[in-house]
Amino acid sequence: MSKLRLNMSMSLDGFVAGPEQSEENRLGVGGMELHKWLTELDAFEETHCEGGGKVNASTPIAEGFFENVGAGIMGRNMFGGSGPRGTNPWRGFWGEDPPYHHPVLVLKHHAREPLEMQGGTTFHFVTEKIESALEQAKEAAAGKDVSLAGGASVVQQFLAAGLLDEMLISVAPIFLGDGARLFDDLGDARPRLEQVQVVEAPGVTHIRYRAA
């Protein structure tokens, strides 16, 4: 059974980005601190550009991000919005060889043709509801799991609709005080969670939750 999974780094006080987010500083003030555990790993190279050289208890966690993942879903902002004026067609800000290496469904208001990148990543643009996007992603994943890439508002929509099966939250030992919250705007939805794994690692605690 194909699952919808999420990996997210969060501050101890619940933020996935700091205050004053901008085009130049997409993670806001202090937001990079949340990802320090990941960027200093050697395993970071597998999913992104350059590894940080370290191998520790976080390594299997990072290596597992895309394990058994056949497709992804992300919001339009995470893809890169509609791009700077005059860039046509806009190819997102993940570069020509995005770190996904699988089909990624981008939730968007306007339909457009799929965008095939290098390395196995193809962006498909979906204008339908999240339920339909999930169905299409599962089909694309061909029996494997679907990874929900973010951002926070997209995660909230899937959470509120009770569609998320598993969450791996990497808690960084810092308070940010303000910024973008991961668990916000859930309305009356109170998804029930079960803690299934706790991993202590340098500068971070990874906790895996399953929908109960």
């Binding site: 205050p19 810092i174 919250r181 969670l193």
Partner: protein
């Protein structure tokens, strides 16, 4: 100098109390009386300080601190101490600056730790460099609204030093030393 410790249970979405200060959810996830970490905290705490509001919320559910599992000198900080103090109350209302309250509690703790109850008081202690340790039981629940563990509009970064992580039944125990400076 005794360590000043903030011991609290938090929801995954960062609340230490639900809407209208609801605390029932905490009892769903653990009972302090049987919990090892909480037991150790109760054992090593010599005195407690809390705000008036926290005192009233604590008292609304169960008489006594930690439901009566902890006994000792405690101080309730308020600008308006009530004229009549309940006769069963073993603590004292005090109207003074936080620094003096911490000094007073430290003396009363007799070498043991000083416990802080309540997010507002804890944040004030943190901002004044009076807090040494934070112990959090992280519960697998989303409350959606309520009293936040830490809120500083505009942002305020505080780096913590993890000293312990442990799985505690349905909860994750997280302990941090507050970095000085």
């Amino acid at each position: 100098m005794a360590a000043v410790v903030w011991h609290v249970t938090m929801s995954l979405d960062g609340f230490i109390a639900g809407p209208d200060e609801a605390m029932e959810w905490v009892f769903d996830y653990f009972s302090e009386e049987t919990d090892e970490t909480a037991g150790e905290v109760i054992e090593t705490t010599g005195a407690i300080i809390m705000g008036r509001h926290t005192y009233e919320v604590e008292d609304r559910y169960r008489h006594g601190i930690y439901g009566g599992a902890w006994t000792g000198p405690y101080f309730v900080l308020t600008h308006e101490p009530p004229a009549v103090v309940p006769d069963w109350m073993t603590g004292r209302f005090i109207n003074e600056e936080i620094e003096s309250a911490v000094a007073r509690a430290t003396e009363a703790a007799g070498g043991k730790k000083v416990g802080i109850l309540g997010a507002d008081l804890a944040k004030q202690c943190l901002e004044r460099g009076l807090l040494n340790e934070i112990i959090i039981h992280l519960a697998p629940v989303l409350l959606g609204d309520g009293v936040r563990l830490f809120a500083a509009p505009g942002g305020h970064q505080v780096r913590l030093e993890p000293t312990h992580v442990g799985r505690n039944g349905p909860l994750t125990d997280l302990r941090f030393r507050v970095s000085s400076g």
